[in-house]
Amino acid sequence: MSIIKLLTSSVGRKILMAITGLLLSFFMAFHLFGNLFLFVGEAAFNGYVEKLHKLGFLIRIAEFFLVLFVFSHAYSGILLWIKNRKAKKVVSSYSKENTPGAAKYAAFSGSIVFIFLATHWSTFWYKFNFDLRGMSYYYVVTESQVGFGSPLVSIFYIIAIALLGYHLKHGITSAGQTLGIIGTKYEKTYNNIAAIFWFWIPLGFISIPVWFGFLVRII
């Protein structure tokens, strides 16, 4: 069977979703590592971003793949969602009530995360790359109106990341099943690592707007 046929089968699409989802999760961990420099101080954060920028075209290649992952993940998800809707005549009330929330709302939380990503690119990413206007990276994030200088941005950021965590709660465990890890001796380790990704890492992201958007202004 050709690779095309593999990727267009339902199981193949899910494998593609699982792999792209996990790769994006790894990126998320790396992204948080960079963000935490904000807590170290202005110079540290600016220095870190400068260093990344010095990588030049390597960053652009990485960005290309990340966007590709996001779109192929969303594309497969939407196609499967349509297939699933077609297959079902009536969802029985019992199964509706008993589907775990994170699974039931995975498509919804994913859509919100996508909207968040679009705004994230058009604000932070665009500013950092093309529209700095003499501001420091640190200032853009902590004080500007596209950053946590605006309480609205902070609140939207917190909600979106919380939904991302909720998305990953279903997504990462589901990826374990799709990649056949569940039911093997690695299941427990996998689930423990999954919790880092769907709980602790989103919490790390949320700590930034909570601190720079609100707490630092109150204290």
Binding site: K5, S9, K83, N84, K86, S92, S95, A103, I181
Partner: protein
């Protein structure tokens, strides 16, 4: 005991159906659910009305013929029990009981509670068998199989193909059914040989038949009368990935 039934009546897949109410009085709590429906049907026939169509055969919980939704759950409220093995004592006096067919695009209604599950047969005929020569009865004993593998394979082979998994799933996915057969044969040396083609062909047929994809909610295993586990689906996924490497 007295019960109030609401039953989905539908003449065929091309006609619209609807719920109809029936009341039965003085039902012995120790009769089976299907015997209760027999009593209803005898009553309907005597009244010169159309009896309720429902599938059944062995009434021992092993053939997989029976099955419909009782109060929104495939095979009713009792865990690991087919409709035929369910008894009226699982209900209370004056209960309202709602009966509907297994609903899925790939399971067209034949009549009332009876649905066409031939899509399952087509999934099986696309690979759910062993076609290589595995020898005769003697070889069954001369090929050693680890006890754990034999036990696992047996649990997977317990699937009776009733379709409750599809009915329970919010996506009408046939993954649990397909995975049970793929697992059953993948765990045994006799089935291993054709493992690669089997999983690919069975998944392809499952997709062609219009079943949804699995979103790992686990509803199928929770409602399965034979308690086929989620690990079967993980094994199918593993087999699928393995077939590509």
């Amino acid at each position: 005991m007295n019960i109030n039934l609401k039953i989905w009546r539908q003449k065929s897949d091309h006609q619209d159906g609807g719920l109809r109410s029936y009341r039965l009085e003085n039902i012995d709590p120790n009769i089976s659910f299907l015997e209760m429906l027999d009593i209803l049907n005898i009553k309907l026939v005597k009244e010169k009305k159309d009896p309720v169509a429902f599938d059944h055969d062995c009434r021992e919980g092993i053939c997989g013929s029976c099955g419909f939704m009782i109060n929104g759950r495939p095979h009713g409220p009792q865990k690991a029990t087919t409709v035929c093995q369910l008894h009226m004592r699982a209900f209370n006096n004056e209960d309202n009981i709602l009966l509907e067919p297994f609903r899925a695009e790939s399971f067209p209604v034949i009549k009332d509670l009876s649905v066409d599950r031939k899509a399952f047969d087509r999934i099986i005929s696309s690979g759910g068998y062993v076609a290589v020569d595995t020898g005769d009865a003697l070889e069954a004993n001369s090929i050693p199989i680890a006890k754990e593998d034999a036990d696992e394979a047996f649990l997977s082979s317990a699937c009776i193909g009733c379709g409750a998994c599809v009915a329970a799933c919010k996506n009408s996915s046939a993954m649990l059914f397909t995975a049970a057969k793929v697992s059953h044969l993948a765990l045994l040396p006799q089935g291993e040989k054709e493992g690669k083609e089997r999983v690919v062909n069975m998944v392809a047929t499952m997709d062609e038949e219009g079943f949804g994809a699995c979103t790992n909610t686990g509803a199928c295993s929770a409602e399965c009368p034979k308690e086929i586990g989620q690990t079967n689906i993980a094994r199918l996924n593993r087999e699928f990935i393995k077939s590509k490497i």
